[in-house]
């Protein structure tokens, strides 16, 4: 303790205690490696703990040549006291799909970051990037050069397409209904320009989950959520079902009664699913992974619009394509995406996410604009208010002549 106090960060020192791995230890480790930034970061943070207020200022626009995104500028408001972190910018590195690495790849990144930055990272950021935490403006070009030399590139920030992410999918999950990793990598490569050069009204995020369990939380956190599902029957191994029953699972209570549509039954010998009423929620499969699997006619549901609450309230994504086959080169999906971007680019207000745009112009009008047929799958229920807009109405002969109006008379809807 004595020596701890001596280093003048008693509050943070306290956060090294306890069973959970400590971020403080991480910062200290790098300080011990001789990273002065980390020592000063620690003391400024201790100060925040005392003051109960942060000491970072609004970030200015910093970045690398030719890119509009990928770097978050950050400056502290106590420059004289903590000069080593006067600038402390974040570099967002586009992670490999599924966050897979080899030890060598990790060491490469470490070498680069030890040389050009604080040595601190987030593995990973909430969007999925490999976040390099803290460097100075003059190091941005060098770090970028080193990264690209070793086949890494920056992710998104600002009003651009953000780094897409994908669940582990077919690499390690028996439930993947499409190749999340390949799709994620493919669209990342296809849309490099949209990622690096902000040209949208606001950010646009894509997340790929292989099944309705949605292990990358795409329905809550992506402007475009691509969630695997299937059209045919759940595959059942009745012997394994019976094995679960014998092992003491109460299939009737814990599986059947929890089925959202009550479409599955346990006869005591057989597990029976009325697939026509199955809404592919995954529960029975989750509960009996050895016995059940999704069908084989698989694809994905495409949903749009999830975002955090700022400023009209949070949104979950809503269905725009109930079922789409997901095979390379994913043309149908890419075409749809570009049509959506075109409409958004033209009609979206500054800092208006796609989900907000859809609510402002109305889903019906949005569908028309992006050339998608309305389907009941897109709504929880049809409208319950009588305020229906009609774009045209009929007029009698005389009126027309008076007004020389066309029949039916036309007026764009709102």
């Amino acid at each position: 303790m004595a020596d701890k106090d001596s280093n003048g960060t008693p509050m943070l020192d306290d956060l090294e205690e306890g069973p959970w791995p400590s971020f403080v230890t991480q910062i200290k480790e790098m300080a011990a490696e001789g990273k002065e930034q980390c020592g000063q970061l620690l003391h400024m943070l201790e100060r925040s703990y005392r003051d109960k207020v942060g000491h970072w200022k609004h970030g200015g626009i910093v970045g690398v040549r030719g890119y509009g995104g990928g770097v978050i500028g950050r400056y502290n408001d106590l420059q004289d006291e903590y000069p080593a972190i006067a600038h402390f910018h974040t570099v967002r590195v586009n992670h490999p799909s599924g966050w897979f690495y080899t030890s060598d790849a990790l060491r490469t990144v470490c070498d680069i970051w030890d040389e050009h930055g604080s040595g601190l990272t987030n593995m990973h950021g909430a969007t999925g990037d490999l976040v390099l935490l803290g460097t100075t403006s003059d190091q941005l070009e060098p770090v970028f050069a080193a990264l690209t030399e070793h086949d890494f590139d920056l992710g998104g920030s600002g009003s651009d397409m953000r780094t897409p992410s994908a669940c582990v999918g077919p690499a390690r999950c028996e439930w993947a209904c499409y190749d999340t990793l390949d799709l994620c990598h493919d669209i990342t490569m296809t849309f490099q320009d949209e990622i690096h050069r902000p040209a949208f009204p606001y950010k646009f995020k894509i997340k790929c989950s292989g099944c309705p369990n949605d292990c990358v939380a795409s329905i809550a956190r992506a402007d475009m959520s691509i969630i695997g599902t299937w059209r045919d029957e759940i595959r059942i191994d009745q012997d394994e079902v019976r094995a679960y029953a014998e092992s003491g699972m109460d299939i009737e209570r814990d599986v059947c009664r929890r089925c959202p549509t009550g479409c599955c039954d346990w006869t005591g010998k057989e597990f029976v699913v009325d697939d026509s009423n199955c809404v592919k929620c995954m529960h029975c499969i989750n509960a009996m992974p050895k016995a059940l699997r999704p069908g084989t006619d698989t694809g994905a549901t495409i949903l749009l619009g999830a975002k955090a609450p700022i400023v009209q309230g949070a949104q979950l994504s809503s269905v725009i394509v109930p079922f789409m086959k997901m095979e390379p080169p994913y043309e149908e999906l890419k075409d749809l995406t570009t049509r959506i971007w075109d409409f958004w680019g033209e009609h979206g207000k500054n800092r208006e996410r796609v989900g907000e745009l859809i609510q402002r112009v109305g889903l019906g009008n949005f569908l028309e604009a992006v050339g998608v047929e309305p389907r009941p799958e897109m709504v929880a229920h049809p409208r319950d208010n009588p305020y229906v807009f009609y774009e045209e109405y009929y007029e009698e002969e005389e009126e027309e002549e008076e007004e020389e109006g066309a029949e039916p008379q036309s007026a764009a809807s709102t």
Binding site: P212, D214, I219, I227, T229, W230, R231, P260, T261, S276, N277, C278, V279, K280, C281, T301, L303, Q315, L316, S317, S318, V319, P322, F323, G355, I358, Q359, G362, L363, G364, N365, L367, E368, P374, R375, P376, E377, M378, V379, A380, H381, P382, R383, D384, N385, P386, Y387, V388, F389, Y390, Y393, Y394, E395, E396, A411, A412, S413, T414
Partner: protein, 357 residues
């Protein structure tokens, strides 16, 4: 004289109109049973039995017919009768043997008996062209046409899984409170109000502008005279402006008509109360019998009667099978109009992957 003018006396005390058996068993009823279509018996803890015979009524009644009802009440149940919250007439009998003669007399008079239990009861409705200035369609005529077609569901000839409540309102004011009915028939305008000359004489222009929920009404002036103009693109025909200003009529033969709504309920039984949702956006007014309306209502009733489980109301049935299935089974086309675009629109979008494929 003035002193004799009676005011604020309120309605007659209902207690003076209660049959003796009701007074005797007031608040002490034990259970009830349905005896046969349109007839039920309530049994008191005392063992007393009160038989109720429920007869259909057009609601619009002349005094002549009302006197006939009074006669029947005198003949069969000591002059005691009541009307229901759905505008049927109920005769309150103690003598079981009077039931059939009463039903026979009612039949002669043209009043089928029914609507009790799992049945389609009378259609709650409104004034329409008979008495209202705001109507986009008639009320009584549509009701007559629809019930002529559905009467077997009222009189018990065709049994159904549960109660099915139909209501009609002739404009968006919804005096029939159709917003929570299993099937709702709603008159709708589809042409923006036409500004009449001299509006400023009859109406307060600021009020008129304030009345519009979509801000479609703007101040204007026609050869010097202040008036308003309508931004037709943002009008959704609610007629609230007309309610506050006669000089903004919306009624229009070519564009008025009927929409059909489904799945609402009021009771708290099983599922919480629900609003009705749009099924058929628009059907032209086609008097005297609105055949397309009649056909659509029957179609929806049959789909429900076919597929619903015991006690299952329309809305519960649709929630179970899913809206896509409802549109598939009824053959009703799903259109842009079905997608909400008003204040809470976003909350009606499907925000999950729980879909049947």
């Amino acid at each position: 004289m003035e002193t004799q003018r009676r005011t604020d006396i309120g309605p007659p005390d209902f207690r003076n109109f209660l049959p003796p058996i009701v007074k005797a068993n007031y608040g002490k009823w034990k259970y009830h049973e349905i005896v046969k279509p349109g007839v039920m018996v309530h049994v008191g803890e005392s063992g007393d039995k009160l038989f109720t015979v429920r007869a259909a009524s057009p609601r619009l009644l002349g005094t002549k017919r009302i006197r006939k009802f009074a006669e029947l009440a005198d003949r069969y149940c000591g002059g005691y009768l009541r009307f229901t919250s759905r505008h049927n007439v109920e005769f309150l009998l103690t003598d079981e043997s009077n039931i059939d003669p009463l039903i026979a007399d009612l039949a002669t008079l043209g009043h089928p008996v029914g609507g009790i239990g799992p049945a389609i009861s009378n259609i709650v409705h409104t004034q329409g062209w008979v008495h209202c200035h705001s109507a986009a369609t008639d009320a009584s005529g549509v009701v007559k046409a629809v019930m002529d077609d559905l009467h077997e569901y009222f009189d018990g000839t065709k049994p159904i899984p549960g109660k099915l409540r139909i209501a009609l309102a002739c404009c968006l004011n919804m005096c029939g409170a159709v917003h929570c009915s299993d099937i709702a028939i709603l008159g709708v305008h589809r042409r923006p109000p036409r500004v009449q000359k001299g509006l400023n004489k009859t109406c307060e222009i600021p009020n008129v502008i304030a009345a519009c929920p979509t801000g479609a009404i703007r101040p204007a002036s026609a050869d010097g005279v202040p008036t308003v103009e309508i931004d037709e693109e943002s009008c959704m025909f609610c007629a609230n402006c007309f309610s506050v200003c006669p000089a903004l009529p919306l009624a229009d033969p070519l564009n008025d008509g009927i929409s059909i709504w489904v799945g609402g309920k009021v009771s708290n039984a099983r599922h919480e109360p629900m609003f009705s949702k749009l099924a058929v956006p628009f059907i032209d007014n086609d008097p005297p019998r609105w055949p397309e309306v009649v056909r659509n209502v029957r179609n929806i009733v049959e789909v429900w009667a076919e597929g619903a489980r015991p006690h299952e109301r329309m809305g519960e049935f649709i929630e179970r099978i899913g809206w896509p299935k409802f549109f598939e089974l009824t053959g009703i086309e799903f259109t842009k109009q079905h997608i909400d675009d008003y204040r809470y629109a976003g909350l009606s979008y499907k925000r999950s992957t729980q879909l049947r494929h």
